[in-house]
Amino acid sequence: MKSIYKLIIAISIGVAATTTSCQKLNIAPTNIITPDIIFSSEAGVNSYLANIYRSLPIEDFKYRPDGGDGGRGFNPDNPWMNFYHAGAVTGEMVGPFGGMDIGGGFGYWPYGSIRDVNFLIEQLPNYKAQLTEAKVNALLGEAHFLRAYYYFALAKRYGGVPLITTVQNPGAPLEELQVHRDREDATWDFIGDELQLGYQLMPETSQAGRANKYVAAAYKSRTMLYAGCIAKYGSVNFVDGDARSGGFVGIDAGKANGYFTKAFDAAKLVEGHYSLYNKNADKVQNYVDAFLKSDSPENIFIKQYSINSNTAHSWDATYSPRYMTANALSRAYPTLDFVERFTQLGITNSDGTPKRFTNLADIQAGLEPRLLATVYFPGATLRGLQFDTQRGLYSNFSGTAAAEVAKQPAARAYKISGDVNTLFEGRRIIGFTGIKTSGDELTRTGFYVRKYIDYAKPINTVDLYRSEQPWIDMRYAEVLLNRAEAAFELGNSADALTSINQIRSRAGATALGGIDMAKIRNERCMELAFENQYYWDLKRWRVADVVLDNARFKGLMPYYVINENKYIFLSEPETFGRNYNFEKKYYYEPIPGGELGKNPNLYPNNPNY
């Protein structure tokens, strides 16, 4: 009997224990943020989007086209070295790169970020109740825009890439995860469709740094113009290989006009919603301010920086000499070849002798305001100090410029120096701002970059990680240039001329009477200088291997002639003596080796890799 009681007690304790146990554990984990916490409020979605925007492949001040020390390119480990600029391998500038060091890319492969966007697109429709249907659609449009932006960065590097639009399950069979490359035309079509969705779904306006429908249209003009050029020029100048015969790189020439039409139509959509910055009657100051004033109606899509959030860049400190900054190191300098896109400088008389100038600054007389606002010439002023750029001294100078430049350095009668403090007859041989050939920190070409330089910053605050002016990734001038180029490709030269002359009028240049492709391209190179566009332009026009065929570039060397008390300027090879050679295979970058190892379906690799 006693044992039955014991049994009953034991059973009832057992039953009581099992029925009450394991209940408290069945709750949502409190230390993990689940999708419904993020996506059920607009603030949550914004925080999720902020991360995607932050990783967006914007080729801004900090972009390192060679990847940089960490090899990541877009968020490099040494973000202060802003002079590692794509313009410094293409002849816009010369500088830190020893040659064509960026042709092979840095293995950019942002499928992690694309997965984040895919997850957003998959989740958003489940939260229509909390966010409202209109908001969900607007956010979806933004997500499609962002996805297109990532794929554009891939397509212009690799051609056709795997188009992944769903959130892959890591547990899925390997064959499902090893996605094949898509054809190049399919990749561009996808980008065009995504931007079209963005245009349809997004609202008309947005806060600075975020997309709206006209942002999507502007990027559609950029991307479709790129695709059209691949079709048109890539089918003439190409490298043969398995990837090409499979359609993974290269587009049928017959599709070119379709892309150009899309580019033109998209550019036209932006008209009336943004406009060129034109607030100051002083054309030079106006063009300078166009890159610095936050109220510019020209800014379509920008990236912002702040010292407080540790995201500030170093443009001011890495494009001006220490003389005009608190602490700086510059290393990339505009070439005379770039300056001569605007006009031939009047530095030589008709008899071949160098023209004499009373003041250094006189070289700027009569030049296009946009050029003076893009490049600091010898004699220009920044923060109250003059660019006293001087290569050296001549006691006296006779003969022609050409004969003097052709001489071997040892045979020349000039005085040059590697130290700003060296004197000759009581006079500095070189200026505080150069030109010396030892060390990189003073100009090697006679010029310094002016675009984006915040001239109003007090000298003692110009330091590394102290520049906050936003990067304008898309501005209305580019939309006009895209429109002009697409229009001309489609045979509509009247529209092209109107667009180009709008840009020239703002630039303070004379209006063109007629138009051709060379003029349109030259206008683009002048207007978008130092904005990381020229490298891609050379690639899509398929002229990089011609323009950069063991190319060397020139500088403008000012000398002071003592007995005449005058300055002369000689056009000489830039003093780095760099050689730039673009191999045809660089029109596409190689698929990253690590990815090829993980996914054999990415083969064939691009031609000649």
Binding site: K584, P607, N608
Partner: protein, 237 residues
């Protein structure tokens, strides 16, 4: 205490003896591959340079999608690599100024493997003569194409001058070489007989030096590669 030390030592010995027993049993790269690149028009070795022909090899016995490796050709038109892994390779020469080969060969590479490739040059350089007057060197030559139809555009012709006999693309004195190039930019079939007879002039060579000189004709193919002449010695008195 003594006992403890000897026990510890015993333990160390046991661990030491049992460690490192896994040895790498994969054969060291002791296979080799060499051969000649033969000019199909002359049956002599192909005249090449550095930065020119590469023998591209893919070890298909290792992977279906192997990472390619390349053996650069030597200046004398031969190639050799003695540190290869044994296996089956898919091999194709590329990068030089010859009509592309589309069918790669498969070779089982072991110690002492060899294979010669016959290549048809885009351009052959004939009647190459040089004459030195004072310090000015004049180089004359004619160009011919074994297969004129479909030949890539001829970009330019240039001399290559160096102080060693390793002279060619990327191994020359710029002021005597690249800057003395003559731009052509024509299709071979559009060139007249006079166009095909090319003269290059190099003034101001340094007296008392010996130079090694050759000429090259560059074509606008995928590699922008050049056909080269033989190398001659020039003594500047």
């Amino acid at each position: 205490m003594k006992q403890l030390i000897s026990r510890v030592l015993l333990g160390v010995c046991v661990l030491a003896a049992s460690a490192c027993t896994k040895i790498d049993n994969y054969d060291a790269p002791d296979a080799s591959f060499e051969g000649r690149l033969i000019d199909a028009t002359t049956h002599a070795n192909f005249l090449t340079s550095q930065n020119s022909i590469q023998v591209r090899m893919e070890q298909v016995s290792w992977s279906a999608t192997p990472t390619p490796q390349e053996i650069p050709s030597k200046f004398d038109g031969t190639f050799k690599d003695t540190k290869l892994f044994k296996g089956t390779y898919r091999i194709i020469p590329k990068g030089g100024a010859f009509w592309p080969i589309y069918d790669s060969v498969r070779v089982d590479i072991t110690k002492g493997s060899s294979h010669d490739f016959e290549l048809t040059p885009y351009i052959t350089i004939k009647n190459f003569t040089q004459s030195l007057v004072g310090t000015t060197l004049t180089l004359k030559f004619d160009i011919d194409a074994p297969i004129p139809a479909g030949l890539p555009t001829i970009i330019d012709a240039q001399p290559y001058v160096n102080t060693t006999k390793l002279v060619g693309a990327g191994a020359s004195i710029r002021d005597y070489s690249e800057t003395k190039a003559v731009v052509i930019n024509k299709e071979f079939i559009d060139m007249s007989m006079a166009d095909k007879s090319i003269t290059l002039t190099i003034p101001n060579l340094i007296s008392g030096r010996k130079f090694f000189v050759r000429v090259g004709v560059r074509l606008n193919d995928s590699f922008k590669s050049s056909n080269f002449s033989e190398i001659v010695e020039v003594d500047v008195p």
